[in-house]
């Protein structure tokens, strides 16, 4: 319980900080933010500047602005989009699913394949293998996922010209088509985390296999499979779970880029479109929503960590 309380305090502090930083975003724009925003679409006149400034409340004292803004955020009101005048939450809701789906699918592929791959890599030890595995994992870590995506499109278009690779169909409309189109981008996106996690599982496995309890298990005559999977892997998975939480952040960011390659109408398209038309309130809200989502995921992962590993519970 004390652990839960401490983590909740941490969570609140971080969320508070995030709100301050995203709030300050518009206020820290060098020059007159309002004139810059207007300049994207219309002629800048003093009347229009004053009107827009009042509309987004930039004419108030800064503390008052923050409190008003935070009050809105907490009640689910993130403001209205500058040009369409639709609530920002509606815009985000319209774009959030492709990104979430892509992220989850990539996470499933990466984390799912990393465990067997890592175990396999732990068994391959010795002369030639170490170097091969090292080069393969470093290559996996550093391959730009957007380039990999483009190369996969190039390859598959040459091999199977009829295949529909780009775009997005909602899951409810066509579940098979939805997953089929997301598989390729999700794979491209997942490769770096696959490499990272597989390597983590490998070194954790090697670490675990050198422990006393493994020798004890061997001594009592446990079969090799049981030693590998029941004793070593279970302990090796503990650092794995924490990393998975952190990976979500990488995936969310990577998804924004990969979406562009595969023409997926997700948050990436929303935020880049908003930047192009200098729709700052929309940029601000999108960043706030994604970051809070990411922080909450990590919060849950942290708690899961305590559930899996009794030592964390005791230690706290």
């Amino acid at each position: 319980m004390r652990l839960l309380r401490n983590r909740l305090i941490d969570l609140l502090v971080v969320l508070c900080g995030i709100s301050i930083i995203t709030f300050l975003m518009i206020r820290l724009i060098p020059g007159d933010a309002v004139a810059i925003m207007l300049g994207a679409n219309t002629e800048v006149t003093p009347d229009r500047v004053a009107d827009l400034r009042a509309r987004i409340g930039l004419d108030q004292p800064i503390l008052r602005q923050y409190i008003t803004w935070l009050g809105g955020v907490l009640t689910g009101d993130l403001g209205v989009s500058l040009w369409t005048r639709r609530p920002v939450t509606t815009e985000i809701a319209a774009h959030v699913w492709p990104t979430v789906q892509l992220t989850l699918l990539a996470l499933a592929i990466g984390a799912g394949l990393a465990v067997p791959l890592g175990v396999l890599m732990a068994r391959l030890r010795g002369q030639g293998w170490d170097m091969v595995l090292r080069i393969a994992t470093v290559a996996g870590l550093t391959i730009p996922s957007f380039w990999l995506g483009i190369m996969l499109i190039l390859l598959l278009t040459a091999l199977l010209p009829d295949l529909q690779l780009l775009g997005y169909v909602p899951f409810l409309q066509d579940p098979v088509g939805n997953i089929a189109r997301l598989l390729l981008p999700a794979f491209a996106l997942s490769l770096p985390i696959l490499a990272n996690l597989a390597r983590l599982v490998r070194s954790a496995m090697l670490d675990a296999l050198g422990q006393d309890y493994i020798r004890t298990a061997r001594a009592k005559g446990a079969p090799e499979r049981a030693i590998l999977y029941r004793h070593a892997l279970r302990n090796a998975l503990i650092p794995f779970v924490t990393s998975v939480g952190i990976m979500t952040g990488y995936l969310l960011g990577g998804a924004i880029v990969v979406e562009q390659v595969f023409a997926i109408p997700g948050l990436g398209r929303l935020i880049l479109g908003a930047i192009a038309e200098r729709n700052y309130p929309l940029v601000q809200a999108t960043i706030l929503v994604i970051t809070c989502g990411f922080v909450l995921v990590n919060f849950v992962v942290d708690l899961l960590y305590a559930v899996i590993d009794p030592r964390v519970r005791q230690g706290a």
Binding site: I18, I143, D207, L252
Partner: protein, 272 residues
Amino acid sequence: MARYPRLLVISGIAVTLMVVLAVFAPLIAPYDPLAQSILARMKGPSAAHWLGTDQFGRDLLSRIIHGLRASFGIAAAAVSVALVVGGTLGLLAAYYRGWTDRILMRCMDVLFAFPVMLLAIGVIAMLGPGPGPTAIAIAVVYTPIFARLIRGPALVLCESDFVTSARCIGASDTRILFIHILPNLASVIVVQTSLLLSAAILVEASLSFLGLGTQPPSPSLGTMLAEGRNFLMLSPWSAVFSGLAILILAFTLNLLGDVVRDTLDPRLRGEQ
């Protein structure tokens, strides 16, 4: 044991080669990266143009060498700033403990809470696209990472006997921090700088790919990839080679950091 130095030598030479290419780009590149040639558009590799030409007939090899310079330069500038700022904050937090530590690290936690690409995009949204804002964005993103990486080992060092001895003979805080503690962190710094430089190359390339970094017609690997993608089916060379260049650059830096880490860390040396 004998094979680590071999990989170390190979990756060391590869990184040196990249640095030389980046620094002496204007001398090495066979053509002007901006020179267009209507007759030689979207050609494949040939004797005159080793990697072919792009949609304006510009020499791809020259553009990639110059793009490498741009990407490497931006990433290196950003990582240096992040190292100095983040490293100093991490050192101060570890040395003074208490409230200094708590407040500094809380601030870093908040910055750290943002997904890397998202925070970088946010900073660029504020400052406008371009190479300068890209470097600032990457520096902002990596500052908390360096602060955390330095603080951990620095905490251990601050507890060590030689620091206590230095304090006993009346050494000033600045002297202890920079003369006694900092040199002992050299290996951590070298390894992490190399690894984060590799990651920064990828972030820079992503941002340029999205049109937020270096602006055309200036050659940049990410921008070239984005342009090449529009002509993928007509002439894939631009997209293939610019992406490959990003991969090679990030790969060699990461490999170097990785190998150096194993060579310097005696605990890992026996295991892997």
